[in-house]
Symmetry: C2
Subunit: 340 residues, 2 copies
């Protein structure tokens, strides 16, 4: 493997000059730059990451802490991972996978060994056990998700409260007087993931100001539980009920239950879920969705951490960003009455 010394020799300059050509931190004459660049190309030189990290105290690697809990919809997690990785590259950084298995110790390891310059944590829970460690780390950390106490932390997430409001407003406008939220799976709710509460708060606020009835019923993957919830919702109204099912797996079960009751989404009932456009379109009845903007959240998370790394100064050690959500109408919801 060629080194910068080899390049220097080939170009007839000092090694430090090669370094300055690459970093641009000192003026270089056009002539010299050309010579060096030619030599680099000719030798197919690439700077050694280890040496660079050692000398500059920057690895240009960001640690990404991914949850692998089976209850979560893996496909949607991949969406985050994919966008984060690609965005990081755009900032000339790489992504190191940090598995949940290692727990908080893993964070200390990758930071302590200086494998990473900073961290992105996905799926942050309300009372996450890793928070004390995160606060103690002396590198930038961006959380995707909002813990109960976000003080001293940099967080970003979809605006779940807004999402709740939008769903309710939308369904109310379509004429529903009873709106039923089927919760996330037990496993998610029990982890006290903060967004469950934020979403609920949004729905309730909107419902109160509009004057529709909200039902919060258990979700989960158990067909009987969902069936029970559906029946309860039906019993509450003489009109057509509306269902909000944020969780992808819950949507699947709901779909089957409705079908067995002879209810067609978009005709006899309305259903809004959260899903990627691709997935939503693939369903038998294309699903109207509340888009939680995973790609945008991911992009911003990377931008935030890269800005913090750039700044070098400890920057704002606390911030909270909420990404606006978007409703997309497809076929699973009723259309609002004409002229309203």
């Amino acid at each position: 493997m060629p080194t910068s010394k080899d390049v220097a020799q080939a170009a007839g300059v000092a090694q430090s000059t090669v370094s300055y050509v690459l970093s641009g931190k000192r003026p270089i004459s056009e002539k010299t730059r050309k010579k060096v660049e030619d030599a680099i190309e000719h030798l197919t030189y690439q700077p050694n990451a280890g040496a660079r990290a050692l000398a500059s105290r920057r690895t240009r690697v960001i640690g990404l802490v991914i949850p692998f809990i089976p209850e979560l919809h893996m496909a949607s997690i991949m969406e985050f991972v994919s966008v984060i990785a690609n965005t990081a590259r755009r900032y000339d950084h790489d992504i190191l996978l940090v598995t949940e298995d290692e727990g908080a110790a893993g964070l200390q390891r990758v930071v302590g060994q200086q494998i990473c310059d900073g961290l992105i944590l996905m799926q942050v829970e309300g009372d996450d056990e890793r928070l004390p460690v995160v606060r103690s780390l002396k590198v930038p950390v961006v959380l995707i998700g909002i813990p109960h106490d976000p003080s001293g932390l940099v967080c970003i997430d979809a605006d779940f409260e807004m999402a709740g409001k939008q769903c309710v407003q939308d369904l109310a406008a379509a004429g529903h007087d009873v709106i039923c939220v089927l919760d996330w799976q037990r496993e998610v709710v029990d982890r006290h993931v903060n967004y469950v509460e934020r979403f609920r708060s949004g729905t309730n606020q909107a419902a109160e100001s509009i004057g529709v009835k909200m039902l919060h019923l258990p979700g989960g993957t158990d067909r009987d539980v969902i069936a029970d919830s559906v029946d309860k919702a039906l019993a509450e109204t003489t009109g057509t009920p509306a269902f909000i099912a944020p969780d992808g797996t819950v949507q699947d079960v709901l779909r089957r239950v409705l079908s067995s009751r002879g209810l067609t989404p978009g005709k006899d009932v309305s259903v809004i879920g959260s899903a990627s456009p691709t997935l939503a379109e693939l369903q038998p009845i294309p699903l109207s969705t509340i888009d939680l903007r995973p790609a945008e959240v991911s992009r911003r998370a990377v931008k935030i951490i890269c800005d913090l790394l750039e700044a070098d100064s400890q920057g704002p050690t606390e911030s909270l960003e909420l990404v606006p959500t978007v409703i997309t109408h497809r076929s699973s919801t009723l259309r609002p009455p004409r002229g309203s």
Copy 2:
């Protein structure tokens, strides 16, 4: 951040002694070892990865090249990623994400900059454009998937031929005389992923030796296409046809088509798919599956590359490992007649 020099000072030994305590490459007296380990603990010392890489010419990082093509079932990809990451940790290695976006150039970058000691490539296609680059790299690379020309490459994959045989043998034993394979989605087939052919070869061999009729029909996500395939299969027999649908998305569509035809899997027809146990159990009629052992494939891939890295010597530069597949009976297949 404390360095090994700090540790040495605190323990009253030379820096090199600290290094030998950590690596175990030279005998150390119990007394000295204790002093050093105490100092390490007291200072919470962790070796600097960059310096270590520079001196040892080993980063202990493996690059994982992930496909993000939307047609693929992301959930199953996550299964690979998760197991690979965790297994790598067990070998004291970390995983760096290399996105497909960068293409072959990305491989040259992470290897050239020596960010990685080796690579694992997922979803290798029959005629993968990255193969020339892979062959030219001077670091170990393990491919998950078998290209058309595996010479000079280290490959591992599920034994799709065995999988095909198992499915056919199993369905034939259950009394089916017509067995229909619904292909993967067009996008997958068109990429010339080798496993499509290997699977087909397995089914055909088994069908021939047993004497049942095989139908290979188009799969995909289009309902009409699947419906057409189902009708064709029905027309071929007066008995009960069997369907094999390896692709997860195809399974979903097939399920709906069968239901609309009034056909119940496990009663009127048999269906075998490939899916994780969790997913299979979740379906309305638990799906009998052919398990392609993603976790085992992942584990072995990591083991192979770590062995190669350990060996240091270029090791066997060519190898091909096939992981045996497993059939699991659930409710979507007929039971073989008693006493047979």
